[in-house]
């Protein structure tokens, strides 16, 4: 009697192999078709003839959804064995699909997280729950979030777990954390250097003023006590005294500018009408001397740092009184209107949250191309022989306005006066 196997011919064996290959291919195709939702039911040729199997989770849409989604999905029985897994899960754990089916899910949970997983596995039968564990993926461990929920199937209750890969999230968190630390460090460094700078400005200003004062005094003494000095020598002394006086103004202005960097956020209700009245008093002599007029419309009351806003008004009015046309009485018009947004183009709005202030003069003006220059530190458009000044006034004004979350701008034409515009919010958000 021939035993079947050993005596098969080579051809027979090859044919059998081909047949098995074909069956395998068919099975794979069937599985693929089920996974991708092309098939909801299939007929299997068994010992008892043809049998029809409908798929339990027959909802085609959901099957495709679960298969295609980027989260891993597994179904476990009550013993914790994997009944079903999507391909994403297989790729997460670095195994083929066929290798994971039937294994305890716990095999894929890192040992250190076993207690956590067991706790979840107990809890989940009572209520849906979530937890983070490390998933074993070959040699690596991947942080995942497990969302556990039970499913009632015909055979009984099973457990469905969705696995969300947290790697990217953890990396982003880590990155964020590192960035925050760096940010804190540079913030601290910035604060320190800011503080140092203010210290420097303060000490420099103070110590610079002492010798300067001596220069002034001794020059005065020299001039007063030496009647015999030649007119030329007296002129030089005058120059020394003038220069010292200019330098003193410069030092005080620099000091004031540097003080603006300090965190002085004392805001209060400020009546701008009162500020204009005060400034008219401050400039009383100059106004009389130049025959100037300051016309002021009704101005609002807003929340601001009073001293600083006064400084802004002062610097702008001072400029308007300084850069005047010879032989023409200076006229400065101050107006205000409410606007709805922080833009110089904004239309008037009765209940707007911003105020647009305009200071218009009839002075010498300047070319519009210089508008950015005039707000920079030490920028001067006119020689100091004709118009004295330190070139800091408008830089201070700009800095103050910006500290109040506002905007400053100037519109002018050479020889045709200038208009300074300031936008300020009515209230300040205190941080």
């Amino acid at each position: 009697m021939r035993t079947e196997h050993p005596n098969k011919t080579n051809e027979e064996l090859l044919a059998e192999l081909e047949e098995l290959r074909y069956q395998l291919h068919e099975a794979t195709e069937t599985i693929e078709a089920i996974r991708t939702g092309q098939v909801d039911a299939l007929v299997v040729h068994g010992n008892n003839g043809h049998q029809v199997y409908t798929l339990k989770s027959a909802d085609q849409t959901y099957r495709v959804f679960i298969e295609k989604m980027t989260e891993g999905a597994v179904t476990l029985n009550q013993e914790g064995l994997i009944l079903y897994a999507n391909s994403q899960f297989a790729s997460m754990v670095g195994c083929s699909l066929s290798d994971v089916i039937g294994l305890p899910f716990q095999n894929f949970v890192a040992a250190e997280n076993a207690p956590r997983y067991n706790q979840l596995f107990v809890q989940c039968w009572k209520e849906d729950c979530k937890g983070e564990v490390l998933l074993i993926a070959g040699k690596d461990k991947t942080p995942v979030q497990l969302s556990l929920t039970t499913l009632a199937l015909e055979e009984g209750v099973s457990l469905s777990i969705i696995l969300t890969d947290l790697t990217a999230q953890k990396r982003a968190q880590q990155q964020l954390h590192e960035n925050n630390i760096k940010l804190e460090e540079s913030n601290r460094a910035l604060e320190t250097s800011n503080h140092d700078l203010q210290q420097f400005a303060s000490i420099a200003s103070h110590d610079l003023q002492e010798p300067l004062r001596k220069i002034t005094i001794f020059s005065n003494l020299l001039k007063e006590r030496n009647e015999a000095l030649s007119p030329e020598a007296k002129k030089y002394l005058e120059k020394i005294i003038e220069s010292s006086s200019r330098m003193k103004t410069l030092i005080i202005d620099i000091l004031n500018y540097s003080k603006l960097s300090a965190n002085d956020y004392t805001f209060e209700q400020v009546d701008l009408n009162k500020i204009v009245t005060d400034i008219k008093e401050d400039f009383e002599l100059l106004i009389a001397e130049k025959g100037a007029t300051i016309r002021c419309g009704e101005l609002p009351t807003l929340v601001a740092n009073k001293g600083q806003i006064r400084q802004v008004f002062q610097n702008i009015v001072s400029n308007a009184l300084k850069f005047t046309k010879p032989g023409i009485n200076p006229v400065i018009a101050v107006k205000a209107k409410r606007i709805g947004e922080k833009s110089f183009a904004a239309a008037e709005q009765k209940d707007g949250t911003y105020i647009l202030l305009c200071f218009k003069d009839n002075g010498i003006g300047f070319g519009q191309q210089y508008v950015q220059h005039i707000f920079s530190l030490f920028e001067r458009l006119n020689s100091k022989d004709k118009y004295e000044g330190t070139g800091i006034g408008l830089a201070i004004a700009k800095k103050i306005v910006e500290k109040h979350n506002g905007l400053i701008n100037a519109v002018s034409k050479e020889g045709e006066g200038s208009e300074f515009q300031i936008i300020l919010p009515f209230t300040q958000n205190l941080v």
């Binding site: 103070h206 003023q209 004062r213 001596k214």
Partner: protein, 132 residues
């Protein structure tokens, strides 16, 4: 007329010179010998034999070695023998901070150092006007 006795603490030699030069011709004041700093000033006051020798006014430079103007002012105001004497602080640079601290500590005036004879005289007049 009783002449007003003024004691000043000033460490800078030039400023000592300015003070005496510009004010010595005034007929209404007596300038007591200038002391170098706050410590010297307190020593001088403690060494006085009778109350009648006390100065009517004290002027303190703010920036002095060992004991500056504000510190000296504190000590003076804490001592009942001297607390009634009007004290003025003067300095090259009188910012809001110095004015506030000085006033809170009991200075009757905080004044910027003058740059001329006229300025020095005005300073004294201001002191007398404030302190009476």
């Amino acid at each position: 007329m009783v002449k007003r006795k003024i004691l000043i603490a000033e460490d800078d030699a030039d400023d000592q010179q300015f003070f005496s030069d510009f004010l010595q011709l005034r007929t209404d004041v007596v300038l007591l010998p200038i002391v170098e700093n706050g410590e010297e000033l307190l020593k001088a006051l403690n060494n006085l034999s009778c109350e009648n020798d006390l100065p009517h006014y004290i002027i303190l430079d703010q920036n002095m070695p060992r004991k500056n103007g504000l510190q000296t002012l504190q000590t003076l105001k804490d001592d009942e023998r001297f607390s009634h004497i009007p004290v003025m602080i003067y300095s090259t640079f009188t910012d809001e901070n110095l004015i506030q601290c000085g006033t809170e500590s009991g200075a009757c005036l905080v004044f910027p150092k003058p740059v001329s004879k006229e300025g020095y005289n005005k300073m004294l007049d201001a002191l007398f006007a404030t302190a009476g």
